[in-house]
Amino acid sequence: MNITIENANNITIAKLAGRLDTPASSEVTPIFEQLQNSADGTVVLDCTNLAYISSSGLRLFLTLRKAASAKGGKVILRSISNDIRQVFMMTGFLNLFEIE
């Protein structure tokens, strides 16, 4: 799991690549905590290269989303694959995020 973060014009773009499974989630938890700091603005999670996500990954997404709503920011999901979209749909997450 690899995450690269870019900041530009008060928009934070996090590019997720690889499998966001349980061990990976615990691994990237600090990065997501860091992203919460930018949650007063717009956080874009670029999922173009996200191959897999488990419930632990979903928890990270949800935690970030909650922080954004607390701080008045927003979380945008960009380019999620069909398979992952299925998981989001199944869990009702599609309604919680802005999807680009």
């Binding site: 499998r19 499974d21 349980t22 061990p23 615990s26 897999y52 488990s54 419930s55 632990s56 979903l58 928890r59 949800l62 935690t63 989303r65 909650k66 709503s69 069909n82 398979d83 299925q86 998981v87 199944m90 869990t91 009702g92 919680l96």
Partner: protein
């Protein structure tokens, strides 16, 4: 239809005309016969009556003549005494006395001198008579002032005739007050001069009796009339000596007829005549009595004479009428029956037509294109259904869905139309229910429930339903009272169960077996084993079994069996519907399952190993990426759950993951020896909540549930056993 009606009318007309002809001929023949018979009987009766009457008349005449002769004899034989006594007229009194004395038939006698013959006795007529009570002979004199004997008929006529004369009958007023007649003869003296008249009176009392004794017919009667027509004997008392027949005829309305008979009788003829009197025909037989001038007659009413023959005639007529009526009735019945048979034949034809259509509909309901699956190399299938009547209660069905052969065979109790209706319902139900059900017992239970409700006709169906997995050869089946199918040459073990339609809510148990390459399943209805030949023998299971296994090819086996049954039954009518299904399995069943095994420690870092394990299986089963990901996700969630929560913190534990790869499903069994935890009991996460309301956790189990088809938890031997199944 129009032409049929016209022909029917024509037929009716023809048969009516023929019937009429028969009746007319019968009437003519019968009438002619009876007329001839009547005519000859009448003639015979007439002849017979005539003979009898003539003979009666003759015998009566003879009797009368006997008495007449006696009376005449008494007079004639006394003439010489009278002549002799003329010389001494006073002695003449002895003559009548002698006549009466010597002749019992003579009731009185007189000798009356011709006036002036004797100077001494200018008028002299001593009269001797027999006292009817004492029998003594009394003598009176007729020469009294108030009885002028020389002017009496008995006196004048013999003088006139110079011979014997019988007087007209008369009532004797002085004597016995009875009907009398007198024979008188002149007595000559020696000079040949008429000196006196000698008489003999006879009573006619006996004449009435004599004539009354003539009995030709019950209502016939006889009469005697004198030469002047005076009625002497007649059944009507008041007419006797009061009426002259001429006078009677003149007064009667039938005077013409009576005059002619009177004329014939009074002229002394003998014979017979027909006389119409008071509207009735009478036959009168008559004959004269010599010397007296009387005429005897017997009157027979024709009605009487022909009473017997007329009675017979009436009887014959009644019988003839009855006969004719019977003929008419019989003809009508025959004609009606003919019409009825014609109508029945027409109706039968109509029913036959409808049954033929019914047959076509029924046959169209069952699949009957063979070979059924020409493209398949793993299945060889043949089936036949031959109804005993046009329509029947047997059924079968089969089709392939998802590499599974669904098939059934059934036999509705009874035959013909009612059975056919139930059959079509059964067939439709099987199609409808099996379309979304892969469990034979559920299909049968569902069908039974449908068929038992409103089963008012109480018809039931023996039914066998099977589902053959063509890939694995697994045969799951459920029997409902049907005879066990044959697997190769052995009976397939089946639970009998009840037939369908007996009672709703019944449970039908499912069974299973595995078919091997080249196995043949032979299903049949009892129309096969119970097929009867002319001597009521049944084809039987033994004969059937003898033919099983003789042919490998399904159609060939079916043909052989059918030929055997046909040959056995021969000309006997088919007694029951006959259905046979042959399933010849020709696949090498795929190895049913492969197993993979993975043991993990309760360390989250082991998850990638699990992912790899699942990936390998997915590749092996050539699953698409999205299915592979779903499996991966479900496994990860389930295993993570165990790793994180099953064992106490820091304690080492194992997670056992077993994968069972089946042709159409994947099963994963996750076992751990941690604290008891049933993930299936966890309340389902609410995925409709807003971001703020959503709890952070709880999605793992939710995802497992959503991603897998089946999820079962069991606690076995202090272990949590979670099995998950995904159909592929």
């Amino acid at each position: 239809m129009k032409t049929k009606e016209i022909t029917e009318k024509k037929m009716m007309g023809k048969s009516t005309r023929a019937g009429l002809l028969v009746v007319i001929v019968a009437i003519i023949t019968l009438e002619a016969t009876s007329l001839i018979q009547y005519y000859y009987s009448q003639r015979g009766i007439k002849q017979e009556a005539s003979l009898r009457a003539q003979s009666e008349l003759r015998s009566a005449e003879n009797e009368i003549m006997g008495i007449v002769d006696q009376a005449e004899g008494a007079v004639r034989n006394s003439l010489w005494v009278a002549e002799w006594c003329l010389d001494n007229p006073d002695s003449l009194v002895r003559v009548p006395q002698r006549v009466v004395e010597n002749n019992p038939v003579v009731v009185g006698s007189t000798i009356a001198l011709v006036p002036g013959y004797s100077k001494k006795h200018p008028l002299y007529a001593p009269y001797a008579t027999r006292n009817s009570e004492t029998g003594e002979i009394q003598t009176l004199s007729l020469a009294t002032d108030d009885y002028d004997y020389p002017s009496q008929e008995w006196f004048t006529k013999p003088l006139e005739l110079h011979g014997g004369y019988w007087s007209e009958p008369y009532y004797d007023e002085g004597g016995g007050n009875m009907l009398m007649t007198t024979f008188s003869m002149p007595v000559m003296d020696r000079n040949g001069k008429v000196a006196a008249i000698l008489t003999a009176d006879i009573s006619l009392q006996w004449l009435t009796e004599l004539m009354g004794s003539i009995e030709v017919y019950p209502n016939a009667f006889s009469t005697v009339v004198s030469r002047n027509g005076q009625i002497m004997v007649c059944p009507v008392e008041s007419l006797v000596m009061n009426k002259n027949v001429l006078q009677f005829a003149a007064e009667s309305s039938d005077s013409d007829a009576l005059s002619s008979i009177n004329e014939a009788m009074l002229s002394g003829q003998e014979g017979e005549m027909e006389v119409r009197y008071k509207g009735e025909e009478n036959r009168i037989y008559f004959a004269p009595v010599e010397r007296t001038g009387w005429s005897l007659s017997i009157v027979v009413p024709e009605k009487e004479m022909f009473a017997g023959v007329r009675k017979v005639g009436r009887l014959v007529t009644i019988l003839q009428l009855l006969g004719v009526v019977m003929i008419v009735i019989i003809l009508r019945v025959i004609a009606k029956n003919q019409m009825k048979y014609k109508k029945l034949a027409t109706q039968k034809e109509l029913i036959q037509n409808e049954l033929r259509i019914g047959h076509e509909i029924q046959m169209s309901m069952i699949p009957k294109t063979f070979p059924a699956f020409p493209e398949r190399t793993d299945l060889d299938f043949a089936a036949t259904l031959i109804p005993a009547k046009e329509v029947g209660g047997d059924l079968y069905d089969f089709y392939i869905r998802d590499e599974k052969l669904f098939f059934c065979i059934g036999d509705v109790s009874g035959k013909g139309v009612p059975a056919a209706l139930v059959m079509s319902v059964t067939q439709s139900l099987f199609r409808a229910i099996s379309a979304h059900e892969t469990n034979p017992s559920k299909i049968v239970i569902s069908m039974n429930n449908s068929m038992s409700e409103n089963n008012e006709s109480n018809m039931f169906i023996t039914f066998f339903c099977g589902i053959l997995d063509l890939t694995t050869g697994l045969l799951r089946y459920c029997n409902a009272g049907h005879n066990p199918p044959m697997l190769n040459t052995e009976k397939l073990p089946v639970l009998p169960n009840f037939p369908l339609g007996v009672m709703p809510g019944m449970v039908f148990q499912e069974q299973e077996t595995r078919l091997e390459y080249d196995d043949t399943l032979f299903l049949y209805t009892d129309g096969l084993t119970e097929a009867e030949n002319a001597s009521a023998e049944q084809f039987g299971e033994e004969r059937m079994e003898a033919f099983l296994g003789t042919k490998r090819n399904a159609q060939a086996l079916l043909d052989t069996m059918q030929e055997a049954v046909d040959c056995f039954v021969s000309d006997a009518p088919q007694s029951d519907d006959l259905t046979v299904l042959v399933i010849h399995y020709m696949a090498h069943p795929a190895t049913e399952q492969q197993e993979r095994h993975l043991i993990l420690h309760n360390d989250i870092q082991q998850i990638p190993q699990l992912a790899e394990f699942v990936e390998t299986i997915a590749e092996e089963k050539q699953l698409d990426q999205s299915l592979a990901m779903s499996l991966n996700l479900a496994l990860e969630e389930a295993v993570t759950n165990v790793i994180l929560y099953a064992y106490p913190k820091g304690a080492d534990g194992l997670v056992d993951v077993e994968a069972i790869l089946k042709p159409h499903s994947l099963e994963f069994i996750i076992t751990d020896s941690g604290v008891p935890f049933d993930p299936t009991a966890v309340p389902e996460a609410d995925v409709t909540l807003s971001a703020d309301e959503r709890p952070i956790g709880g999605l793992g189990i939710y995802l497992v549930n959503k991603l897998m088809d089946e999820l079962h938890y069991q606690r076995i031997d202090d272990k949590n056993v979670l099995s998950m199944k995904k159909n592929i």
